[in-house]
Amino acid sequence: MLLLVGLRDINFLSPQNLVTLVADVVPLLIMATGMTFVIYIGGIDLSSQSIANMATVLATISLPALGVGSALLVIAAGLLFGAVSGVVTTRLKVPSFISTLAVGGIALSVGQYASGQQALHMDTEQRRHAFGWVTGQTAGIPHILVLALVIVAIAWFLQIRMLPGRTLKAIGAGEPVVVASGIRADRYKILAFALSGMFAAIAGLMFSIRLSGGSPTLAEGFLLPAIVAVLVGGTPLTGGVGGVLNTLIGTMIVAVVRASMLYFSIPATGQQIFFGLVLIVAIATTIDRSKMKVVK
């Protein structure tokens, strides 16, 4: 695909363009990484986009007062919203697609309320002071990209080498086994949702810093590509296999497809049609039918 577009316009393959392409995808990558944990246990998180929206607003509002501390506020908010989804899903036994949809609705509303329904802008000087290190470049490599890769690396280590990661895998593979092995599975499920919420908030924060502002609809159109990135990467909706590295690859695929569509001048509004179709194909081909005998 890269080559195909490269044939049409050789500039597409220039290192500068590729770096920009990758840097553009950072918020999506972080959101998809968080989402991976929830899909890994066989759930789904539909609140990511709304939490990211809320995060852009909260970051912009709190920047003058808190400076770099606004990042912590935003991350804590994401963690909290994710944890609420987790508690609702495990303790109240509400399926995750409903619980996260509901929590997403709340997050969206918080964003709208806090922003007064309008786009907000960061003060250039304050932004440079607090987050200049994020927007900068060293030797042509944007810092934001390095930061994103560090975050993904941490998530990856958590998944493959740490106790919570192993537990999440086991929950995805077969939750009754985990319970019968004396593990408090609910706690780890809540953790997965909390991580997803936190990563969504970080994604929103990054987006907000890049665009120097926030609005309750800024991250619109992120949810579908994020889910596509996870599934195309190879973490099926039924969970248990795949993981963070898969999502990294999936995000790259989504990024290339999206950039290619721009080059073929397919309007952004039309892109969702494509991602919707890809999502259906990805789910239909990757889902583990032995775990889902009946689909409703």
């Binding site: 192993r166 593979a173 077969g174 086994v177 019968a180 004396g182 593990i183």
Partner: protein
């Protein structure tokens, strides 16, 4: 007459059926036995049309037929009574019986329920079941549902020419002794209407019911015997290909337990919602079998001990200390291991490899600051693969692909390697073939010798008698009778059954 000639079947390189010949005469009851993996279920699937053979022919009354779907087979009078029942619980009995065949009852697009009820009553009468056809199926007992299932297959009779062939796949596995007798008498009475293929792991039942017995081994028929000339020992020998030792349950290795060391004590415990009162003591090295009919309340006792259920009253003491918080994690932390009946659901996480499964219950021992020490995990797995001779290519093998016996060994290794010394075994040999069963029995003896206390719910009464030091007979949730089970002075089946029903 129904006949299979030279049936061949391969699944991606595995030769499952190697030229199987199989014949069933009108009104005959055929027993079909074989170890797991011998090809029984594939053969059955070919007979009722769920799978197509690669070679060979199927003949009904001398004519060659092709079954593409189970419906094709049903049109030729071949019906299946499923092991995991196929009735839809929230439909009525008659709706279930005529599911997919409602056409004769439809007038102007609407179903005439009275006519259907009438027809359903005819079918129910064949199996001697006197229930209202409009009953919702979920209200029936398990045994009644089994009979409805049989009636459903018998309803084919009016729709096809010639005799029926009915497959019964492990129909007795969840029935009590009375219910089994009832089912058998129904089957015998139906011989003039249909012939039966009866598949079971329980050889005594095969002997009691069948006229002829087909023994399947490694995808081929190794012997066909008439039931009156056969015995359990000869069938077993044909199935396994060697003599089964008389010391099947390793009774020679049963040593007295340590009476002074009580591992677990239930003191007038009432299992949640059952209003019963259970007291028992489990000692180091003891195998205590809970014996009773299906639904007598054995599993809830086990689940209470494991912390999955909270008792209504009474005290549970682990090594003398009363338990206050009931959860599996608490029980595991205090050395209780649970080998569940549903191995594939609660025992093994398929998709995870051997070491990941083994350390699942004890990950804290293999982490430092939450970071897993994978090389230590692998070392543990290799050690136990050797100790229990688990057949796997490496510790990275996906446990979902292992045979039942090897899966069970992984589950046992999980608890034993974590140092659990109170082991709860719920049907540990269910669905295992004879070789794997013997391995499990040997492991139980090994654990006893190491001072582990075991509570056992056995697959058969013989197994409970053979393995245990002590037997508690349970009926309606309460312990009705205790038996001492020293080698040479073991109670008989008859002794136990008296108190079970």
């Amino acid at each position: 007459m129904f006949e299979l000639q030279n049936i061949e079947k391969r699944y991606t390189g595995v030769h499952v059926l190697k030229g199987v010949d199989f014949r069933i005469d009108d009104g005959e009851i055929i027993g079909l036995v074989g170890e797991n993996g011998a090809g029984k279920s594939t053969l059955m699937k070919i007979i009722y049309g769920a799978v197509q053979q690669d070679g060979g022919t199927i003949q009904v009354d001398g004519e060659t037929v092709t079954f593409r779907t189970p419906r094709d087979a049903m049109k030729m009078g071949v019906g299946m009574v499923y092991q995991e029942q196929s009735l839809i619980p929230n439909l009525t009995v008659m709706e279930n019986i005529f599911l997919g065949f409602e056409k004769p009852f439809v007038r102007f697009g609407a179903i005439r329920w009275k006519k259907m009820a009438e027809a359903a009553r005819v079918q129910l009468a064949k199996v001697g079941l006197d229930i209202d056809p409009a009953t919702i199926t979920s209200r029936l007992t398990f045994a009644q549902r089994q009979l409805v299932e049989l009636a459903k297959v018998l309803a084919l009779e009016e729709r096809v020419e010639g005799k029926l062939v009915i497959l019964l796949d492990e129909p007795t596995s969840v029935l009590s002794r009375d219910e089994i007798e009832l089912l058998f008498s129904v089957v015998r009475a139906l011989r003039r209407r249909a012939s039966f293929i009866f598949v079971s792991h329980r050889l005594d039942e095969i002997l009691a019911l069948s006229d002829r017995i087909y023994v399947l081994k490694d995808g081929a028929v190794v012997d066909v015997m008439t039931a009156k000339d056969a015995s359990i020992a000869t069938i077993q020998k044909e199935m396994v290909g060697r003599d089964i030792s008389n010391e099947y349950y390793r009774e020679d290795r049963q040593i007295p337990y340590d009476e002074n060391k009580v591992l677990l004590e239930l003191d007038h415990v009432g299992v949640a919602g059952r209003g019963n009162d259970v007291s028992l003591r489990l000692h180091a090295g003891e195998v205590l079998a809970l014996v009773g009919v299906e639904g007598s309340g054995r599993e809830p006792i086990l689940r209470t001990i494991f912390g999955m259920l909270r008792p209504d009253r009474g005290t549970l003491r682990i090594r003398g200390k009363p338990v206050r918080s009931f959860s599996p994690s608490h029980s595991v932390a205090h050395g209780i291991g649970y080998i569940p009946r549903e191995r594939k659901i609660e025992g093994i996480a398929s998709g995870m490899n051997v070491f990941e499964n083994m350390t699942l219950s004890q990950m804290k021992n293999y982490t430092k600051g939450s970071v897993l020490n994978i090389s230590a995990e692998r070392k543990l797995a290799r050690e136990w693969i050797g100790k229990l001779s688990i057949k796997v290519p490496s510790e990275y093998a996906d446990c979902g692909n292992l045979s039942g016996g090897n899966q069970q060994k992984v589950v046992l290794a999980k608890w034993r390697s974590g140092g659990s010394d109170i082991i709860l075994l719920d049907h540990p040999t269910r669905g295992l073939d004879i070789g794997a069963k013997e391995d499990v029995y040997a492991m139980i003896r090994d654990m006893s010798a190491d001072g582990v206390g075991i509570i056992l719910i056995a697959d058969t009464l013989e197994e409970a008698i053979g393995l245990s030091h002590t037997i508690a007979v349970i009926k309606d949730g309460d312990i009705k009778k205790w038996f001492n089970c020293q080698p040479g002075a073991k109670p008989s089946l008859y002794n136990l059954i008296q108190h079970m029903v």
